[in-house]
Amino acid sequence: MALFIYGTATNTGKGFFTYQDRQDFFLSNYPANIWVIGNNEKGAIWLASKNGVEKTKAEAQALVDAEVTAKQTEWDALSDAEKLKDARPTQVTLP
């Protein structure tokens, strides 16, 4: 069985993931609203309850890559002075 479920969901703020959720399953958020969720019943129910859309790992990684690449392109277009204010976004590899 795969370790993780991958999906997109929009963080709505307070209560979106609770203390108990963090005890019940692994949960980690990435660019492009990608969530990596521990693959158990409670994790699957959580994603469904958040109106999440399940993705394959490859689909999720592609969404992350597209988001990061777009931000890198934005950073590359900044002036040299602006670039000094923060580092270029780096690629993210999903677990």
């Binding site: 703020g13 307070k14 979106f16 203390y19 931000k71 780096t90 993210v92």
Partner: protein, 322 residues
Amino acid sequence: MTTYKDLSGKFVRSVGSDPSAAVGEGEIWYNTSSNTFKTSIDVFAWSSGGAMGTARRQLGGFGHTQNTGVAVCGQNPPALSLTEEYDGSSWSEVNNSPQGRIKPFGNGSLTAALIGGGESGPSSLNTAVEYDGTNWAGGTTIPQNVNGGTGVGTQTSTLLCVGSPSPNTAVLYYDGSSWTAGPAATPVNVPSSSGCGTSQTSALIFGTAATTADTRTFEWDGSSWTAGGALNTGRNNGASSSGSPATDALYFAGVTPSVTNATEKYDGTSWATQPSMAQARRGIGGAGTSGSALAFGGYNGSDLASTEEFSGTKTVKTLSSS
């Protein structure tokens, strides 16, 4: 051999059912139904809080409790002067600070805080302003420009590690009205670091590296710096439970150089890994205490408005040999 009775002054109780987690705190008992030894401990986790009104990174944060956190300035990417206050569930926008600042330092409580330094254009700033919970006032001139500095303590007893423009190991004191040079420079340059402490004579600085992961931390007693316990995950550009004393700090997020969601707690001697945040980020703001902290904003490829709350619940746990 040392026994439990030697340590606690009493034998291990045998019980048919577990006491409540609150009653069992700090005790070990034997559950005759499950044939297991048990105890009650605080189990911590990050959960989601209300989102800020404006997503941003490289912001300032202060506030002594989770329910009185303040987010100020930052960038997205222009320099911002926006101020928002957290009440435990949602953020409210309040009076802007007088000037937009990227990477300001900030310390103090909701009703008595100090922010300053940072940058709003091509050069760094040498001004600081006080916040009373409603208004920004009392602008002062810092003896030197500060960008990415670390402020620790209260509004009237601030320790400022200048850190940047790099290299800069200067330490400054603020007493509520004027700035003076501190008695000893930091052992290393400390740009983009974080800190905890209750005054200008009791502080802990961590996340000291300029560009690479560094596990070193430094304790300050008012006269000299000594090495503190080493971080398990070397990083900078994270945030701390800024209301904590130097002997009870929480450090979260940052750059390793990859963006991280690592969380660690300091007990005055060593750092222990804690449950990770849900969202890895850098350039984040922090407030609260080590047992009730607040993390907000930052950057993970996008500017973030999201908030996470760190809290614990007393929980009965079964002891095992592993």
